[in-house]
């Protein structure tokens, strides 16, 4: 008798069956948004170069929903004013980078279960103070609301940052310590300001030293991007418990080969 399926050893067949069951379980446990989604890649592009140079990148929107999306491409400059980011229409800021953005194509339609790509080319105007732009897939359709309803439509943009010089610097405020309670962890926070002209992503860690100067623990600060002029609070939590006593902590941030360290003392009772 001839078998339609090839014979496999019993052990291998069991393994295959087990994997199939696991795959089905994994499929069932996937959240709904993992099965049907509208996604954009990449979320961020970090570029390095010089004034006058250009950058060409491919941006892809992946529509795994049952809806048809129509997107118009647009670029916005991102500036920091009074420590906060503001988005400006292309051409509004002097030496606008967004105004140089060329999208190919300028509009796309993404039918269900397809992906569509757009290339964007920007050229850095000489002397521009702008260091970030957003390349946005602006949804102009995707849903029709009916009477008595509010439709919600998402647009997504890729952040593009530009490092154009070696003028990288941050200033650090004193470290604030929130002592642990029954319901909260020991927490550290520190305000950093980007005082240079280039974007930075400081990576910070706090090292906690006991009275004997031995390492009692460490915790990482959350990672956040700082645009020139931007001011943000960085947080770190220490999840373990410290014995009562006096401690000395060193908060160290590293960025672009530089280091910024701030000490702080505290006592756990």
């Amino acid at each position: 008798m001839q078998h339609f399926f090839p014979r496999v050893p019993m052990q291998r067949a069991r393994a295959v069956a087990t994997m199939a069951v696991l795959a089905v379980i994994a499929g069932i446990s996937l959240p709904a948004h993992a099965q049907a989604s509208l996604s954009l890649t990449p979320a961020v592009i970090m570029a390095k170069g010089a004034f006058g140079q250009s950058l060409t990148q491919k941006l892809t929107i992946n529509n795994q929903t049952p809806n048809i999306f129509h997107f118009v491409m647009m670029a916005e400059d991102i500036e920091v004013r009074n420590g906060k980011r503001v988005f400006l229409p292309a051409g509004e800021a002097p030496n606008s980078i967004a105004a140089t953005a060329v999208f190919t194509p300028k509009e796309i339609i993404a039918p269900p279960n397809t992906s569509a790509s757009v290339t964007v080319t920007v050229t850095i105007p000489a002397g521009t103070k702008i260091r970030a732009i957003a390349a946005v897939f602006q949804a102009t359709s995707g849903i029709n609301s009916t009477k008595g309803s509010v439709g919600l439509v998402a647009s997504m943009g890729t952040l593009l940052t530009f490092n154009l010089s070696s003028n990288v610097a941050i200033s650090a405020d004193p470290v604030q310590v929130a002592l642990p309670t029954e319901t909260t962890n020991l927490a550290f926070s520190q305000i950093l300001t980007n005082t240079g002209t280039e974007p930075v992503i400081p990576k910070g860690v706090v090292a906690i030293l006991g009275s004997n100067n031995k390492l009692a623990g460490k915790a990482a600060f959350e990672v956040q991007r700082l645009l020139p002029g931007e001011k943000l609070t960085y947080h770190a939590q220490f999840a373990d418990q410290l014995k009562p006593g006096a401690y000395h902590a060193l908060c160290t941030f590293q960025y672009e080969g530089k280091t910024e360290t701030t000490p702080v003392d505290f006592t756990v009772r």
Partner: protein, 180 residues
């Protein structure tokens, strides 16, 4: 005896090829300086509108959704998950919507959330959180955490003298997310 004029002419002729070489060299340098930048791309974004237990039902898939607020009226009953607050000159129809950007488990990063109305909804005023929405994008949250389901109150303020024929609100809110 060689005159000064002849000496000058001779030196100019001799230096001409050198000047040409300099020009060629400049030509070679210029394109390199005006070349392309280096770039590093990372991550991806997804946007989900999620119904909340205390909010209105959302018929949704990712990236889009429809919230049914029902018929908006001062005296009328609200749909499930929709609250009506009555004031002297107007009343508010409010519900909650959950917004989830990125995948769960992406801790410490954030996006800027902007929103606007696709078309005017006169005489209504629409608020997302505390921010009134209009025809142009406004920042609703400059630090919306990635991977965290965040509830927002959607509130529609209706003047009591709004005509009955406009009691059925119909609009689309566009939301834009950009990673910080």
């Amino acid at each position: 005896m060689i005159s000064l004029r002849a000496l000058l002419l001779g030196s100019l002729l001799l230096s001409a090829p050198l000047a040409g070489r300099c020009a060629v060299r400049v030509k070679h340098i210029l394109p390199a300086r005006l070349g392309h930048m280096t770039a590093q791309a990372e991550g991806g974004l997804t946007v989900n509108f999620v119904p909340l237990p205390q909010g209105s039902q959302i018929m949704a898939s990712d990236g889009v959704g429809v919230m049914n607020l029902g018929k908006v009226s001062y005296a009328g009953n609200a749909n499930q998950g929709v609250q009506i607050q009555r004031h002297a000159r107007n009343f508010d129809v409010a519900t909650e919507v959950g917004i989830l950007v990125g995948k769960q488990g992406m801790i410490g990063q954030s996006v800027t959330l902007k929103a606007w109305l696709a078309a005017p909804v006169d005489p209504y005023s629409v608020y997302l959180g505390d921010v009134q929405l209009g025809g142009n994008p406004v920042s609703v949250d400059s630090r919306l955490p990635l991977g965290v389901l965040t509830p927002y109150q959607l509130r529609v303020r209706v003047p009591v003298n709004a005509p009955e024929r406009k009691a059925n609100l119909q609009t689309v809110i566009s939301m834009q997310v950009i990673q910080n």
